[in-house]
C-alpha cells in the first residue's frame, strides 16, 4: 500500500504530527522558537554532509544539529552576547556555510526548493521507517522526562529543590529537538520545521486550560494541518511544507474565535 507516493507522504506527515504536537508545546512553554529555527537552519549543513559522504540524511542532520546545540551552550557560557544574537549568528552562518558547500558540489544535482520547503515526492519507504521508529523513540523519551522537564518549565528551583534533576531533562530535550528536525526535514523542509512545531501548539493554547489538553489539541491540529496541507499540495501542485503550514495557520485563525468567546464570557 506504500507504493503510492501520496500515501507515503500522508503516513510520514501523520507520524511527524504526532511528535511535533507535544514537542511544540514545550517549544512554546520554554520560549524556544528561535532555538528551533537555529537547529533547523543548521540542518542544511547536515544535508550537504550526507550527500558528500553518501550517508543517511536524517542521521547526519541529527548529528550536525546536536553539535550546533552544544556550540550554542558553550558560546552562552563563554561570551557576553545575548542569547538571541548567538542564535542568529549560528542560524545564518550555518545556513550560509551549507549553501556555499552546495555551490561546490556541482557534481550532485540538488533540489534546493525541496530541501527548504519539503518535497512529498521524496518520501521513501525508508524515510517512513525513520519517521515512525525515530518518532516513537522521541515520544517515549519525552514521556520519560516529562515530569522534570515540565516542573522545571514551571519553576526551575522547585524542580531542583525537590530532586527532579531538571538539567538532565533539559539536555535530553535539546537532543530530542535535533531529532525531530532530522526526521521531519523531508516532509516540511528546513525553513518551515519550526512552524510545524509552533503553530499547532499556539492554536492548542487558545483552546485548552490544562497542559495535557494543550498537548492533545496540538497533536490534533498538527494532524489536520498535514492532511489538509497534503491534499492541497496534491490538488494544486504546491510545495508540501508551505501547504501544511498554511493549513496550520488557518486552524490557528479559527482558534482565535474561541478566545474571543471565552473573553466575552468572562466579562
Amino acid at each position: 500500500m506504500f507504493d503510492d507516493f501520496f500515501i507515503r507522504a500522508l503516513v510520514a506527515g501523520i507520524g511527524v504530527a504526532f511528535v511535533t504536537g507535544p514537542l511544540g508545546c514545550f517549544v512554546i512553554w520554554r520560549r524556544l522558537s528561535y532555538f528551533g529555527d537555529t537547529l533547523a537552519h543548521s540542518a542544511l549543513l547536515g544535508v550537504t554532509l550526507a550527500f558528500t559522504m553518501e550517508f543517511n540524511i536524517a542521521i547526519s542532520v541529527f548529528v550536525i544539529s546536536s553539535m550546533i546545540a552544544l556550540i550554542l551552550i558553550q558560546l552562552q557560557k563563554k561570551t557576553n552576547l545575548p542569547g538571541d544574537a548567538l542564535l542568529g549568528l549560528l542560524a545564518h552562518s550555518s545556513l550560509a556555510v551549507g549553501l556555499v558547500v552546495i555551490g561546490f558540489l556541482t557534481f550532485i544535482r540538488f533540489d534546493i526548493m525541496g530541501l527548504l520547503f519539503g518535497d512529498i515526492l521524496a518520501v521513501s519507504v525508508n524515510d517512513l521507517l525513520i519517521i515512525w521508529i525515530g518518532g516513537a523513540f522521541i515520544l517515549l523519551t519525552l514521556k520519560f522526562i516529562w515530569k522534570p522537564l515540565f516542573a522545571s518549565t514551571v519553576n526551575y528551583e522547585l524542580a531542583e529543590a525537590e530532586g527532579l534533576n531538571p538539567d538532565r531533562a533539559k539536555a535530553i530535550f535539546t537532543i530530542l529537538m535535533a531529532a525531530i528536525i532530522a526526521i521531519s526535514i523531508k516532509m516540511v523542509g528546513l525553513l518551515l520545521i519550526t512552524g510545524m512545531l509552533i503553530i499547532p501548539a499556539a492554536m492548542a493554547r487558545n483552546l485548552s486550560s490544562s497542559p495535557q489538553g494543550m498537548v492533545i489539541y496540538s497533536i490534533i491540529g498538527g494532524l489536520l494541518s498535514v492532511i489538509i496541507g497534503l491534499l492541497t499540495s496534491l490538488e494544486f501542485n504546491t510545495s508540501s511544507g508551505p501547504s501544511i503550514i498554511t493549513a496550520a495557520l488557518l486552524l490557528f485563525i479559527l482558534s482565535l474565535f474561541k478566545i474571543k468567546q471565552s473573553i466575552k464570557l468572562k466579562n
Binding site: 522547585l158 531542583e160 529543590a161 525537590e162 490544562s210 489538553g213
Partner: protein
C-alpha cells in the same frame, strides 16, 4: 539532644560567592526530624540563599551541605510562573509528584483553598497563590519542608492559622522544617532553634538565647527583644514590615 539519624539536612561552614561578592558565608546549621529551625535577619542578610544552599539548588558553594532525604517540599519566596502555560491549581499540585485526589483535596482544605482547585493559577490573588504553594509543599508529606516566608500576602487571621498549621504538620508528620520569617511573634512561639543571619551567622540558639544576645539586639532593636522575651501574649497589635508594633 538527638541522634544523627534524625538529621535531615546539615550545612557545614557553607557559603555562596557570586561575582566575587559573598551572599552568605560560614553558615553551619542542621534540621532534624520534628524540629522547626527558623532563619531571621534583615533584608539581604542571606536567608533565602541559605535555604537554597540547604536545598542543593546552588552547585558551586563553599563548605559543605549534606541532604539525608529526597522527600522535600519547598515554598520559594519568589516564584515567577509563565502564563503561556495553561495550568490549573490541580495540575500545579502534581508538579513534582503524582498524587491521588484525596491527598490533593486534603492539602488544599488544610490551607483553605479547596474551592480554587479548578481555577487557573494565573487567576489567583497573591494570598491565594501563597496558600496553594504551601498546600503543594505539604501534600507530598515530605521529610523536610523549606518555607521561605510562606505566609507573605496572606491576611492577618489567615497568617496565624497557617503558622498553627505549620506547627501541626511538623508534629504530625514529624518532618523537619526550615522556616524563614519576619514575624518574630508567631515564629518564636513555635520555633525550636533560631539562626540569626546578617551575611553570616550572628547568633543562634533557642528563641530565648537569641533574644538575650547583644548582636541580635543591635540588629533588630530593643523592641524585637521585648517581643522575643514575652512571646506568649494576646494579639492586641499588628506589626509593620520593619518589625515595629502598632496598637490595634
Amino acid at each position: 539532644m538527638s541522634t544523627d539519624q534524625n538529621i535531615l539536612v546539615k550545612l557545614n561552614d557553607a557559603g555562596l560567592q557570586l561575582n566575587n561578592k559573598w551572599l552568605v558565608k560560614g553558615v553551619s546549621l542542621q534540621v532534624e526530624k520534628g524540629k522547626i529551625v527558623t532563619l531571621i535577619g534583615p533584608n539581604g542578610s542571606g536567608k533565602s540563599t541559605t535555604a537554597k544552599i540547604a536545598l542543593g539548588i546552588y552547585k558551586k558553594i563553599d563548605g559543605s551541605v549534606k541532604k539525608y532525604t529526597n522527600k522535600v517540599g519547598y515554598v520559594p519566596q519568589k516564584i515567577s510562573i509563565d502564563w503561556t502555560l495553561p495550568l490549573r491549581v490541580n495540575d500545579f499540585m502534581m508538579l513534582t509528584e503524582s498524587l491521588n485526589k484525596e491527598t490533593i483535596d486534603e492539602a488544599l482544605s488544610l490551607t483553605g483553598v479547596i474551592h480554587l482547585k479548578d481555577k487557573n493559577l494565573g487567576d489567583l490573588s497573591g494570598g491565594e497563590f501563597q496558600r496553594v504553594l504551601l498546600a503543594r509543599a505539604i501534600s507530598k508529606k515530605p521529610d523536610l519542608l523549606v518555607l521561605d516566608e510562606p505566609v507573605q500576602g496572606v491576611d492577618f487571621t489567615g497568617e496565624i492559622a497557617l503558622y498553627e498549621l505549620i506547627k501541626k504538620i511538623s508534629d504530625e508528620l514529624s518532618c523537619g522544617i526550615l522556616l524563614i520569617s519576619h514575624d518574630l511573634h508567631t515564629v518564636m512561639s513555635a520555633t525550636d532553634h533560631v539562626v540569626c543571619l546578617n551575611g553570616h551567622v550572628c547568633c543562634s540558639g533557642s528563641p530565648m538565647d537569641v533574644a538575650k544576645n547583644n548582636e541580635y539586639k543591635a540588629l533588630f532593636g530593643e523592641q524585637a527583644y521585648q517581643i522575643l522575651s514575652r512571646y506568649q501574649h494576646k494579639h492586641d497589635h499588628i506589626h509593620t514590615d520593619e518589625g515595629e508594633i502598632k496598637k490595634n
